[in-house]
Every structure is written in structure tokens, then in C-alpha cells.
Symmetry: D2
Subunit: 139 residues, 4 copies
Amino acid sequence: MKVRTPIKVRYQETDQMGVVYHANYLVWFEIGRTAFIEELGFKYQDMEQDGIVSPVVDAHMYFKQPIRYGEDAYVETWIEEYDGLRTTYGYQIIGENEKVAVTGTSKHVVVKKDSFRPVSLRRSFPDWHEAYTNAMKEG
Amino acid sequence: MKVRTPIKVRYQETDQMGVVYHANYLVWFEIGRTAFIEELGFKYQDMEQDGIVSPVVDAHMYFKQPIRYGEDAYVETWIEEYDGLRTTYGYQIIGENEKVAVTGTSKHVVVKKDSFRPVSLRRSFPDWHEAYTNAMKEG
Amino acid sequence: MKVRTPIKVRYQETDQMGVVYHANYLVWFEIGRTAFIEELGFKYQDMEQDGIVSPVVDAHMYFKQPIRYGEDAYVETWIEEYDGLRTTYGYQIIGENEKVAVTGTSKHVVVKKDSFRPVSLRRSFPDWHEAYTNAMKEG
Amino acid sequence: MKVRTPIKVRYQETDQMGVVYHANYLVWFEIGRTAFIEELGFKYQDMEQDGIVSPVVDAHMYFKQPIRYGEDAYVETWIEEYDGLRTTYGYQIIGENEKVAVTGTSKHVVVKKDSFRPVSLRRSFPDWHEAYTNAMKEG
């Protein structure tokens, strides 16, 4: 399963190089991740209301082509890896004429908001676990 | 009392116009406000640990000259008005050669974090109240 | 003429108060402004390709209710004032259940990108001038 | 050579998880990089005035501990690799009590601003080349 989400470049996201400032792509990854989760039928805010948050463990980004203000852009998101504890999302940012602008991954765990202690997605959120397992299989 | 705080322009804060993107000056106001509060001997985070936050009620900004990456910049902060409930901070952003780049104000209340219900600074934080009253008198 | 644009709150836009950080509403105003200009049939980037940029002269913001992650939000944009040189846009940010969260205005001029010298919209961009004059009349 | 730069956490940089939002660390890397370059005796803006910019090719980030508002933070920057064309900077973000909060790298090239065509640092900026070669040797 791969989810494609349109992004409208904000003027605020450009820098004086005349292109999107690179850290913003990490925010676009977040947008893709949110859309992916919603496509699975869940909402991240519901998890937070249970006192659980999902911090990033690591992130890798490969910048291939700049994206400019006014260009049509998309973020594509899928599950690269999932083991019941950690989820690695894969991303591809697409610009005009289907050019691949940025690729990357981010790995996440779920933890208690108060203590940042790890929680097993498999045990605590069995419906998420099932959906993630299936989404990964679909590739 | 007026507090002057140096700001080092971040590349991320520029936009494709080649100058600092205007919304960032509101963040610089926040930096000035924090420095002002610390100069009075307080820490905003101590207030938050008591379950109190201080949202903005209104903000006014006047953009006179752009600031560019590599320029020396400062934010100057003072209390424009204070009545025991609401604090209005005044700001001036200074660029190279003492040019005035941006001026503005922001008005704040203090509220309970859970309910966003207003709290009287005078009654709940008498030491803040005294310091603010004095800081305003000094002009 | 009033243009209504949906905004999906980004996690990155929240702060530790648990609501959207106030400076982001200025970015949402920019999103509304861009959508308004496109509704009139123009593109801001076309103007920039002619060496013209449109900096902000002043901005006023009134924060009435916080907006939270997961809420449906909109920005409504119209022309408050236009005189051939300066355009003042009006904005209203709407949250869940049609609550008015933020209101504000921003005044803009157009200048040459190289020199920041003012340019008359009326003389240099007569088609923009006509569209703006009409949009203002429609209220 | 390793350069240590203090960072004062901005309220704007926190998110509703109550910690610094992860994309901001990429901005802090930029702050460390700028300080490192200045420590070598150069200014990035001088390079840009020659029509040269230095985009990021890839970035890797490892998030070990969250950083909170009010904490003392630092970014440490060094050269991990340099071959005359590409520079890889290494970074470490340090929080309170010397805890390592984030580590990472970013790889950069230099290109012409107009065309994004690669430029050899060795040939076009021999003084930068020498300083980078020495800084790398010092480890």
C-alpha cells in the first residue's frame, strides 16, 4: 500500500537559494505519514488521547532535485518495515513531471507521553498491529 | 526597562525574496519576551510547571526594512502596558547600522493550561506582578 | 469576494501548550492570500518572474480561540482595502463548529526585487489592478 | 577541529509532545555548520555573493533523547569527510548534563545558483579547500 498526498508549496518554505529549504521535507514526510495512517482508518490524535506518542528514532533523507514555489508536489508514503515495536516509513517526494525530488525513511516507536517508556504496538493496539502487518505485506 | 537581545539570522528563516520571512519576526518577538522575563528574574517554564500558560491575545507588526542573512540583528523588548491581567510587550527589531527593521506589540494573558480559563497575575503570581509593575514604571 | 481554503493542521505547527503556535497563523494568512490571488486568475510566481515581489507592510492579528491538532480548519480571505498601490487583505481563521479562531489583516505593496523600490500595481499590472478593484467592490 | 555552539530552545520549536519537534534539529545542524565555517574564517554569504550555493545531498539523523524547552543545549560540529567536491559534516546535539540527544551527518556540494551545476571547491575556492583539508586532518 502506497499513499500519495498532494503538497502545495508555501512561500514560507522557500529559502534565499530559491528552493524549498531542506528541513521542510521532514515536515512533508510527517504529512505523508499522517495521510497514510488515516488511509488505514486510524487517527494519530486518538492514540495521543490515550497518553501515547510516537517519536522518531532515526531519519534518512536523500535530496535529488530541488522543488520550487509554484511547482506541483506530492509525497508518497508506505511501510518499509514493521516488527510490532518499530515502524519504518518510506517516502518519496515527487515534483513536476514526476521527477523524484527527495527520498527517505523515518523509524518510529510508540511510548508513554509522561515517561517516554516504550509500548508494544502489537499488545497495546492490536487493531493498528493488524493493519500495519497487512499494509507491509501489500508492499 | 528595555532588554536588547542579539539574533543570529538562520538561513532557514530567509525566503526566496532573499530576506527574512515576515512570520519569523513574531518568533523573534518571543525570543525578546523570554529574555525580558529572564532579565526580571523569572522563567516562563516555571509558570508552565504550575499548570499556567500565557497565550497571545493580539499582535501588531510594522515592517519597515527587510533584514538579510548575515546581518547583525537585535530585538529590543519592553513593557508597553500592564494592568494585573494583561501584559502588552513592545518590540523593536534592529538591523545593521542601527536601522529599525520591524516594530510591534503583543498582548498576553495567563490562563490555566487545562481549561484556558483566565488567571489574575496580580493574585496568583504576586512577585511577577510587582516586577511587571516596576518594569512598566521604568518605561 | 471571499475565498475559503481548507487547512490541515500539521503536528509541526503545534507547540507544548497543545495548540497551534501563533506565528503559524501568519503563514496560514499567506496560504489564504495565495488562494485568493489564484481565484482571481493570477499566480504570484508569475509576478516574481517579472522581477517584482510583494512584501508585507504591516500585519494585525486577533487570537480568539486556540486551534488544536486534528481539528478541521479554514482560512477565509478577502480584500479589505485597495488603492492601486497598497492592498490590505482581511482574514478569518475558522475552526471546528464554525468557531472564529483568529482574525487579522495584512497590508502589501509591490516592489522591484533588486532594489525594493515601490511599483504601482495600477500602472505596471493593469489586469491585476482591474481584478482587485472589482474584487474589492464585491466586498 | 570540533566547534561547540550554544542553542537556546525557542518555544516555537516545541510541539504538543512537549519536546523539540524533530525537524528543528536539522536547522540546529545548519546553525552548527555556519558556526564551524566562521570558525575556519569564512562566511557562507560571501560564497553566495559569488553566485554559488551549497545544497544538501543527504542527511542522517539519530534521535536518542528528547530536548525540552528551558534546557541548555549545544550543537557540536566537525568535518566527517571531505574530498574536494563533497563535504560531510558530523553533528552531535548535547542537552542538559552532557546527555547526547541527537547525532547526525549532512553531505553538501557547491553548485552555481542559476543552474545548480556542480562546482569544484578545490579549484574554485582554493582557500576553503585548504582550510577544509586541514580541519578534517585535525579530526
